[in-house]
């Protein structure tokens, strides 16, 4: 039987620090681009998401 307390992912690395410098810029610009692309691709739309699961191809 799985014991939830024992399957939690633990890391031996120190806790992550707040982002600085280049990684912060990549996180901001990358996130903006990712969200922009997802919305333009229709992934924010209910019928596109459900349509693919109903095997109804969406128009492009």
């Amino acid at each position: 039987m799985i014991e939830p307390g024992k399957v939690v992912k633990e890391s031996s690395e120190p806790p992550p620090l707040a982002l600085t410098g280049e990684k912060l810029i990549v996180a901001i610009l990358g996130g903006l681009a990712f969200g922009f692309l997802l919305q333009k691709g229709g992934v924010a739309k209910y019928n596109v998401l459900v349509g693919q699961l109903l095997l109804q191809a969406s128009r492009s």
């Binding site: 990549v26 903006l32 969200g35 109903l54």
Partner: protein, 184 residues
């Protein structure tokens, strides 16, 4: 490009409603290139679900700080403005900018396709949406990733576990959607 439409009969047809503004092939390629860039410049993979665990940690620290800090997950993953949190926060912002600039901001509670199938009850939509969200959040943390972490970043690294996870996501998603659109 003419793509043959495969349309199963469920009473409603998803292709009758507005789709994406851009070709999904262009968007998919763009996200693939974006993934190269995040790996190259930040040594980080695209992912989303840890955002919700972090957000829950922020709320937990406000409501029950001692209990939250005692949880093993938050000992090794203390809630903070880390990569995943900032990335997804900006993803939401990027999606808003895309919708706004594309004239797609709508003031509506129910998507027309939902209304055509399930009627006008906002409460029903809220209950199904909330229950689905809880299951998604639980499943993605249990699997260590979601459709972004496993579906994009894991599969492109040919991670066997990610391919298996994505196959299970789609199999269970297809079964659930077909059940909702036929049996209920």
């Amino acid at each position: 490009m003419n793509v043959p439409l495969l349309v199963a009969d469920f009473g409603v047809n998803a292709t009758n409603y507005d789709g994406g503004a851009w070709s999904p092939y262009v968007v998919g390629a763009g996200i693939g290139v974006l993934s190269w860039l995040t790996f190259y410049f930040a040594d980080k993979a695209i992912g989303a679900s840890s955002f919700y665990a972090t957000l829950a940690g922020f709320i937990g620290k406000l409501v029950a700080p001692r209990h939250t800090e005692s949880l093993r997950y938050y000992k090794s993953n203390p809630p903070g403005a880390d990569w995943g949190f900032i990335f997804v926060f900006c993803t939401i912002l990027g999606g808003f900018i895309a919708a706004w600039t594309g004239g797609e901001i709508r003031n509506e509670w129910l998507h027309p396709m939902w209304r055509d199938r399930f009627g006008d009850s906002i409460a029903l939509r809220a209950i199904i949406g909330f229950a689905g969200g809880v299951l998604m959040a639980f499943g993605s943390r249990l699997a260590g990733g979601c459709t972004s972490g496993h579906g994009i970043s894991g599969t492109l690294q040919l991670n066997a576990g990610s391919w298996l996870t994505v196959a299970c996501m789609f199999l269970s998603g297809i079964a659930t959607a077909m059940l909702l659109y036929t049996a209920l």
